[in-house]
């Protein structure tokens, strides 16, 4: 085996162009494939982020107000609306909120531990809801208690007031109080008065899903408030198991029966969580698919290229192969020769490819602040390409090994 490498290298020097081309193609393919795999893996990871919501049964209605309603009228209408929604036969519970997990964009506040702190300790997504919000979303209270109805107050359109009590997610509680004793403790969220943690829920995704939210993943808080927003409000409805479709049909009818001076968009006024999740991760899913397609086609083209060029070499060297066979080389030796030759070229290509792969990754890191690629992806990529090379060269190499020694005596 070892003694074969020197003649291969000498032979390759007579095919410099082809050798360089295959190596270059392998290098570029490796660079693209590892980065694509890395992007796919990252995007798929965000696709499966937990929302903390009972996604099979929850849907959201974005209700816009029409006409010139006063804050008091809006508040009264919202209270009547949620009662009407809760009375529907297919509905388990209903609530209202300024936003919902995976909405895309939303409200977030800085969190401080002391009243005179200027820099934030961390950031939390802010949900405003009543005592039904937890049950409606389906998020589980793991410590403390829910809001009492008398704690829920209205917040006017231009008001910014901090309520005395708050429910936080476990992620936020652990971030603020790493010792795990958050219940009963207080903090400041852009107000002058402290707010006390009365309950902790296990999981509630932020409204935002973009890159900016990543460092604060899962950090949300709920204020016991109804937001009297003159523009509109999100009604969140949890259907009884198996009755989602029926509840989604009945809910807008119930709202219009209450009052027709409202707008529920025909296209995206009512969304179930499958749709909300689909929209939230549109670009992530698209990137994963695109990178997947490119990877597959790229590997196929590279393999085809290797087959094509090696076949040409085999064709060119039939006479030499015949001579070697006549001088006693076995079929196995010829096969090994071409496999080894391909391995040497691939190894050189892969070495260059690793450098290119990291260079491309570095570009995405500096240009778009993406994450650094771990070595695993490069490892997988190297393995895939070496195997691909060996696989691609197998057919022409087998054909070469079947060249009869008689060829040595023929010209051409």
């Amino acid at each position: 085996m070892n003694i074969q490498i020197r003649p291969i290298l000498i032979a390759l020097r007579r095919h410099k162009a082809g050798t360089v081309l295959i190596a270059l193609q392998i290098a570029l393919t490796l660079a693209i494939v590892c980065n694509a795999l890395f992007i796919i893996h990252q995007r798929l990871a965000s696709l499966s982020e937990s929302s903390g919501v009972d996604e099979h049964n929850v849907f959201v209605i974005y209700n816009q107000w029409a006409g010139n309603m006063s804050t008091q009228q809006i508040d009264a209408q919202m209270r009547a609306d949620v009662v009407a929604l809760r009375q529907l036969p297919g509905v388990r519970d209903a609530s209202l909120s300024n936003g919902y997990p995976l909405q895309g964009t939303g409200w977030d506040n800085y969190v401080m531990m002391t009243p005179d702190q200027v820099k934030m300790t961390t950031d939390a997504a802010v949900y405003l809801g009543d005592e039904h919000l937890l049950d409606t979303l389906g998020t589980r209270l793991i410590a403390g208690r829910n809001f009492r109805p008398d704690e829920v107050v209205a917040m006017g359109p231009q008001e910014m007031i901090t309520p005395p009590v708050v429910i936080v997610t476990k992620a936020l509680a652990d971030r603020l109080f790493p010792a795990g004793n958050a219940l009963g403790k207080s903090f400041y969220s852009m107000g002058t008065v402290p707010t006390t943690i009365i309950g902790i829920v296990d999981d509630l995704h932020r409204q935002g899903t973009d890159k900016w939210n990543k460092p604060y993943a899962g950090q949300s808080l709920i204020w016991p408030m109804r937001l009297d927003n003159p523009y509109g409000i999100n009604y969140i409805v949890r259907a009884k198991p198996g009755q989602l479709a029926a509840a989604m049909r009945e809910a807008p009818k119930a709202l219009y029966a209450q009052n027709r001076m409202r707008i529920i968009d025909a296209k995206d006024g009512i969304q179930d969580y499958a749709e909300i999740r689909h929209r939230a991760y549109d670009s992530d899913r698209g990137m994963a698919i695109l990178m997947g397609i490119i990877c597959v086609v790229l590997l196929a083209i590279t393999a085809a290229g290797i087959v094509g060029l090696t076949s040409f070499w085999v064709g060119q060297r039939r006479k030499q192969i015949g001579v070697r066979r006549a001088l006693g080389a076995r079929q196995r030796d010829i096969l090994t020769y071409f496999l080894t030759e391909n391995f040497l070229i691939s190894a050189a290509g892969v070495a260059l490819g690793v450098v290119l792969a990291f260079a491309f990754n570095l570009w995405t890191v500096t240009r778009f602040a993406l994450d650094r690629m771990s070595l695993d992806y490069v490892g997988v990529g190297v393995l895939v390409l070496l195997l691909l090379g060996q696989g691609a060269v197998l057919a022409p190499a087998l054909r070469a090994s079947r060249v009869s020694p008689v060829e040595a005596t023929r010209s051409v």
Partner: protein, 438 residues
Amino acid sequence: MMFTYYFQLGLRSLRRNPVLTALMVMAIGFGVAASMITYSVFRAVSGNPIPDKSAQLFTPQIDAWGPQQNLTGGEPADALNYTDAMALMRAHEAKRQTLLYPVQMSVMPGGDRDLPLAAKGYAVYGDFFPMFDVPFQYGGGWSTQDDAARAADVVISGRLNQKVFGGADSVGRTINLGGHEYRVVGVINHWNPHPRFYDLFDDDFFADEPDFYMPFNRALDLKMRTAGRNSCRGKLTFVTWEDYLQSNCVWVTPWVELDSATDVAHYRRFLENYAADQQRAGRFDWAPNVRLRDVMQWLDHRQVVPPESRISLMVAFGFFLICLVNTVGLLLAKFMRRAGEIGVRRALGATRQEIYAQYLIEAGTVGLAGGMLGLLFTAAGVSGVGVLFPPQIAKLARLDASLVGLTLFAAVVATVLAAFYPAWRAARVQPAWQLKSS
């Protein structure tokens, strides 16, 4: 004459090694299609939305949060608070100027509509329309006097005009928006620049066309809060509209039109002086930190082109490059296989240039075939691009004449470039050596 002959030779040669030819054509087709599909999206999101005036339109930024609380890298907020925004308007240091923020109103039922309609729009000053070259179907914008008179004027989109007035000339008629009567002064003829450069503070850069534009002062009188983003710092304790206006919350986007470098320098000095005055007055506790970006700088600063689009474009170009490297190799194999034939032709008197030209033209035919296939893939890809990009971006990607031309051009040029080396090798074949060995 020679060209047609070589072209026919090329076509014949394509048929001679069908597998090799198919490989090359597929590779070029895939490569060029991947590049063109991602490019069609990139082109849609990265273009200049107002090419004639992008260098004259500027958005001023003033740091009212200070070094402790401003954005990363000491950047001032991407919008203004009410106090600073109004100060810029009062100073009137630019030829034209406007403030704007997004608002929403309902269109009340009427005619055959028994339910209200949702309408999204902007609160703007009268200068907005001439500044941004807004095209009108009927009427026009309103005047600076109307701004001062806090008039209940409105400019509506052609689409809203269609819904409410059946597409007729509605100038002078009234429309009930959010329970208030407005006088229609103009109807816009399709104007929705992509990206929406004038409102990049809000995240939906590729939103549908707004339904209406109302006077800024009128929106303030009605205490209409922003329907878009609002960003605040420190402790928030306001409970009234007036308190909110005095807060440090930023939500107003300002634009000024400045025609010459002198005007720009003058305005920049004005901003510096304004911030310095605020510092002297004790309102700012920090040195002036202002910016004056034009449209393209603003698009870049707000990172309007989604990173996904840039990365996929780069990956697709890399993919095309690999396809070309692949083509170089295959062409080399294809041409050198015919070394004997080349030897005969050379021996019969063909010059190197002729061999060279013949093989380049042959490569061109491969490129053309690849381009045709690529065009099919591109057409399929552009129509299916909704799977890969969010809908509001995907709908901007189009297969138009320029993309068709570019696809074919890129395929042929790239393949001919890829053929330079293999053709050169073919032209260097020694006639004697080839004739001897056969």
